[in-house]
Symmetry: C2
Subunit: 332 residues, 2 copies
């Protein structure tokens, strides 16, 4: 059979075949038993952390990745920025009747590759099939379990006046790449999503005593992370626009289409807040890593106006608004 | 705003409001921090187990429950039948643009109630909004973490020739109730879903040395569980049809519509395989419980024909076929 049918989701023979021949063939390992209702987790030493993320990206495949690799990176990264090394993942796939089996296979193959790169195992899964027209190819949900780096307690509440804000690389590549992949704008480009795991970036800062908080700027982009920091701390934020790394192609695409790259999703970047005296050290550590070479210190936390303020290139200032309407749905 | 919009899923202000005013208001507790990417889990003693389940039931609400309570029971029950007491859950909600907020509130309210009854906490969550027409109101996914009952190792591989098969109560109520709730058949009834957690049923057998295997017969019903046992063991199964508890209303609905209740989903029943010498003890323990009063021993494992054989009321025999086409999509 070349396409998914409703019978692939009914608990019977075809579903068992799908699970064995697609999911188990790609994701299988010694700890994965597809015949049980619940998986046993090998012992983990330390405090556990848990995170969940769903993926509804459209189109399913885009330059630099697909929904499968995204579903690994998203949850792995949520744990990593929280100070935990991910170990085990659960996977749910809600598949639309009529999806090409070959497409599903490519997605699960990318997923397996991304999981190996991140050192995580998928230990349990669930599949459902919904009728043609409902769903959008496939929706994936992953929940990750990780172990917190010893004595590391990151959080918005740790942030102090004077702290510096760093970003690990150019922003908006993922959002712009997905947008172009839709081709609905009649534009084409060689833009690639930045989708990747950020384990090395996060790990490199775990022992830095001045590290306060990290987040991966996905939905809503860098701007939304800055607003979350502002809301949670009640402090102000000043960003030097010229210091924000943005690829020229992303900037051009945004100018043509009227989007602000500050609101575009990244899927392989980290925003970190670090005490002033350790910001240069953090930056130096990132610069040594392959995916941190374009990292920058972009601004700082202030106790003046409780707003997110952009210092523009011409010496002016503007208040960065909060996201209201959806600029780009279905991007992650 | 009375309905879900795409902006409720974009990471901005409306999404924060939705999470605070619907999800946090109902599901909130001291361990739930909606501002973090990953939740810290309190220490658990023992071997951990993990399970995931997605819920795409249509309609969202049915007599005896809704997709919210189902999403708790499903994952709690998968852990319970595997021999683990569930503690923490992650929750993902993929919501369709246009869903009434009041409906979502009822669903999350039921979810909170079911979680309290099962003694589990939702520690992290994710919401996505998909465009009107994609999705079907709301799809929920829950992943549960539990602690395995000490030294309890259940599994299909433990099953032996001569073992007895028990079912904890009448089968097919959930499937039939959802079917009637659709009203597409022009039938009405006072049938209620059996949706419930099966913690007490499972716990009551954990210390029984003859307990081999348990499963909740959801998708594909009792028949599918029997086939899974047959496939995994290579042994045969003989079932006395007269011993299978089925409510009269379920039987009638099935006769009118041409369905076999053996394939209808249950959401609050357990199938257990127990050594012959302890089957009566297991049954006695179930009869003492509120939701086990109608439990029955329905058949046994045999080393003769490697098939699932039904002994009919008239002394005849028939081979129970495996589910091929989907008799009832979107039932759980």
């Amino acid at each position: 059979m070349s396409h998914i049918t409703l019978a692939h989701g009914n608990g019977g023979r075809l579903m068992r075949q799908l699970i064995e021949e697609v999911f188990r063939a790609e994701l299988g390992h010694s700890a994965l038993d597809t015949q049980v209702d619940a998986a046993s987790l090998p012992a983990m030493n330390g405090e556990l952390m848990m995170s969940v993320d769903s993926f509804t990206v459209n189109p399913l495949e885009f330059p630099g990745g697909n929904i499968g690799s995204l579903a690994i990176h998203g949850t792995v990264n949520d744990l990593a920025v929280s100070g935990a090394i991910p170990h085990f993942l659960s996977l749910s796939a809600i598949i639309e009747e009529g999806l090409e089996l070959a497409t599903l296979q490519r997605i699960i193959h990318s997923m397996a590759k991304a999981a190996r790169a991140a050192g995580v195992q998928i230990v349990c899964g669930d599949t459902k099939v919904v009728p043609r027209g409902e769903g959008s190819g496939v929706y994936l949900t992953t929940t990750g379990i990780g172990v917190r780096h010893k004595n590391l307690h990151l959080g918005l509440r740790q942030i102090k006046d004077g702290d510096r804000i760093l970003v690990s690389g150019p922003i908006g590549d993922h959002g712009a790449a997905v947008m172009l992949a839709r081709e609905q704008f009649g534009l084409k480009g060689d833009l690639q999503s930045d989708a990747d795991n950020v384990l090395a970036l996060c790990r490199s800062l775990y022992d830095l005593t001045g590290l306060r908080f990290m987040r991966d700027p996905t939905r809503g982009g860098l701007a939304t992370v800055l607003h979350e920091i502002q809301h949670a701390t009640g402090l102000g934020i000043r960003i030097r626009q010229a210091n924000i790394p943005i690829h020229e192609t992303v900037q051009s695409v945004c100018e043509i289409l009227g989007y602000d790259p500050l609101f575009l999703a990244c899927e392989g970047r980290v925003v970190a807040v670090v005490g002033q005296s350790q910001a240069d050290e953090a930056l130096a550590r990132w610069h040594e890593l392959e995916n941190g070479r374009e990292a920058r210190i972009i601004g700082s936390i202030t106790s003046t106006l409780p707003l997110v303020v952009l210092e523009t290139d011409l010496g002016g200032e503007r208040i960065l608004p909060e996201l209201e309407d959806d600029p780009l749905p279905r991007i992650c």
